[in-house]
């Protein structure tokens, strides 16, 4: 992370110098980005600087808690941040992000229909979509009896005899809870203890057959053939295919959670206008595609497909086939009672 951000800083400085020397683009102020590490293309940032003459810097955070804490402590001088919906919702409630009227921006028309709204920001006043992805599962046909699995969570929750002890789950409370909720047909924001018990029953019955619950090394584990089936994020599934082209990423029929990250502007951003310029610029298809090509995740911009690299556009794990669209289930803000049930189920599963 340090390496990347130093590199970006170095590059930024270099670009700044070049631009200054050429004198062609006038320095129109600065823009400070705050993002996950390895989540923004340095080349794309360079392109932005060239086209607008705005000098950029990029800092990285390791968790959204860090981001929230920094903003609550007074901002840290950042202009554009990349929170997920939960964090964004909290920020909107607490007045930490600016109403920048994203929905009135020139390039907002490029945003795909489902992404023109967000649970916590219904009319997209505060935020623009950045990357999005899904949490499904991946399997290796060579290690599965018959060579295919049904497109259902049952492959994981009620594994076939040969797959017992040969499956891996993500170690992420909400992702695991959501998948079990889709599978049992229970609302993922349920407040009913009896329904939560159903979810717990499914997870407890599955536990003896799970080799490992882990978010780290999922790509490695699949590539090395340590497990046959792995609950996985689609970007990771895409990267498994680089080592093992045959693997299949499944969008289970009961439902697939999709997550989105957004671009937003802190309420006290020092360079508000530049931040708006940046977000509008990022909604252009070719720029969104460049971001996807770097991160390996999908963007939410119409017409970006033609700018995607072939490896991405030809992979159904990244470029989701149309017919799966109705399986997607977006993020919902659950009540405190529901979150507390979720946490209790998770603790019982692990105690």
């Amino acid at each position: 992370m340090m390496r990347v951000s130093k590199w970006v800083l170095g590059m930024t400085a270099a670009v700044g110098l070049t631009v200054g020397a050429m004198g062609s683009a006038s320095a129109d102020g600065e823009l400070h980005l705050y993002n996950w590490s390895n989540y923004f293309s340095p080349e794309l940032l360079e392109k932005f600087e060239k086209e607008t003459g705005i000098k950029t810097t990029m800092d990285n955070y390791a968790s959204e808690e860090d981001l929230l804490a920094k903003l609550q402590a007074g901002g840290g001088g950042y202009d554009v941040i990349f929170p997920g919906p939960t964090t964004l919702g909290t920020m909107i409630d607490k007045g930490l992000v600016a109403d920048i009227k994203v929905n009135q921006m020139e390039n907002f028309k490029h945003v795909l229909g489902p992404f023109q709204t967000l649970s916590v920001d219904a009319d997209r006043s505060y935020s623009a979509p950045y990357m999005w992805g899904t949490t499904g599962f991946t399997y290796d046909p060579a290690m599965v009896p018959g060579g295919t699995l049904e497109e259902s969570w049952s492959a994981l929750f009620e594994p076939k005899e040969e797959l017992k002890g040969n499956i891996a789950m993500l170690n992420e409370m909400s992702d695991v809870w959501n998948a079990a909720a889709y599978y049992t047909g229970v609302s993922k924001c349920t407040e009913d203890p009896a329904e939560a018990q159903k979810i717990l029953d499914v997870l407890m019955a599955q536990k003896p057959f799970v080799k490992v619950y882990s978010n780290d090394g999922t790509i490695d584990r699949m590539s090395a053939g340590e497990v046959a089936v792995h609950m996985q994020w689609n970007g990771a599934a895409h990267r498994v295919k680089a080592n093992k082209p045959g693997v299949v990423y499944v969008y289970p029929k009961e439902g697939v959670t999709f997550w989105t990250d957004t671009m937003a502007v802190p309420a006290n951003a020092p360079n508000m206008d530049n931040a708006k310029t940046f977000i509008n610029w990022m909604l252009l298809p070719e720029n969104a595609a460049a971001a996807s090509n770097y991160t390996g995740y999908s963007n939410a911009i119409k017409g970006s497909g033609e700018f995607l690299s072939d490896v991405l556009s030809s992979d159904p794990a990244v470029n989701m086939p149309e017919e799966y669209a109705d399986r997607l289930s977006g993020f919902e803000v659950c009540s405190d009672a529901s979150k507390s049930l979720r946490e209790r189920v998770w603790t019982k599963l692990k105690s």
Binding site: K94, V210, S214, D216, E226, T347, K350, S351
Partner: protein, 313 residues
């Protein structure tokens, strides 16, 4: 002016010397006291404060809203109709942490004591090199060492491949992702904390006492029990505490080597501060852990006080 000064000088000199001494003392104690206040007392007070607050829907701490809810959650869970019922999930996790920490301590002792004995009986000139070797693993990050154990223990890892290679087993042994892997990993991580204190106790043992005991027809076992163990005891106790306490709070090893299947209290606390966003409960759990450690230490202090075998940690 000069007259007055010359008569007052001796007295003032004494006074200022005393004052200097006092100032020196304050200056000398200051950094240590300051460090303890900043790095220990202040965070503990903050944690105590947070543990008696409530939190809002987003998980932020609501300041100045006192509640003992976090501590109640140790044993009770609040049902949706606000009645309380018993819930032993958290105690179970704490119990398992203590159990794993105890096993690790025993394993470390079984491996560490002979190691320390071996080191202490080598020629004096070798010993610094041996101590140095014991500390070598600390040069590598804990995370990296845990990943190394994954490479050793996994199904197609070094140990299973070797065993299958020489034909002892046909199927890989399930070595990774269970309590066995966790206790191996913990023992490995904390072994030096056991070896070094025992070594420093045994180094002080006069080997002529051992010879004398053999001269008096003591058996090997008697010598070990009556001569060597009493000298090693302060080191064994110090080592056990140094292994047991950090083991209780371990976080990385259960996650990586245990396969995330069972939580230890460290993971539970991590969950509360992270995904569950319940800082008051996380802080309360931290205090529960601290209380257990303090109880164990008090017990030890009382016991060692009686036997006059006190050692200072």
């Amino acid at each position: 002016m000069t007259n007055i000064d010359s008569t007052a000088a001796p007295v003032a000199g004494l006074d200022s010397r005393k004052r200097n001494l006092r100032r020196q003392r304050v200056l000398l104690i200051g950094p240590a006291a300051g460090a303890i206040t900043i790095f220990m007392v202040a965070p503990l007070l903050l944690m105590a404060w947070i543990s008696i607050q409530t939190r809002d829907y987003s998980g932020s701490v609501v300041w100045n809203s006192y509640s003992m809810e976090a501590y109640m959650r140790f044993i009770f869970e609040r049902n949706l109709d606000d009645t309380l019922s018993l819930n032993f999930d958290y105690l179970l996790i704490i119990w398992r942490s203590m159990w794993l920490a105890a096993i690790t301590t025993i394993l470390s002792l079984l491996v560490g004591f002979p190691t320390a004995m071996f080191m202490a009986t080598r020629p004096r000139s070798w010993r610094p090199a041996l101590v140095f070797l014991v500390t070598v693993p600390f040069w590598t990050n804990l995370l990296v060492r845990n990943y190394a154990w994954i490479l050793l223990l996994r199904d197609h890892g070094t140990i299973n491949s070797a065993l299958m290679g020489i034909g002892i087993i046909n199927e890989p042994l399930p070595l990774l992702h269970n309590s066995f892997a966790v206790s191996v990993g913990l023992t490995y991580s904390f072994l030096p904390f056991m070896v070094l204190p025992i070594y420093s106790s045994l180094e002080k043992l006069d080997m002529r006492q051992v010879e004398a005991s053999f001269d008096l027809y003591a058996t090997r076992l008697q010598t070990l029990r009556r001569i060597i163990l009493p000298s090693a005891m302060p080191g064994i106790i110090a080592g056990s505490i140094l292994v047991f306490v950090p083991c209780l709070g371990s976080y990385v090893t259960p996650e990586l080597l245990g396969g995330g299947k069972t939580m230890m209290v460290g993971n539970l606390i991590g969950l509360q501060f992270g995904a569950a966003r319940n800082w008051p409960f996380g802080a309360a759990l931290g205090f529960g852990l601290l209380a257990m450690v303090l109880l164990a230490m008090t017990f030890y202090a009382l016991k060692s006080g009686k036997s006059k075998q006190g050692i200072s940690l």
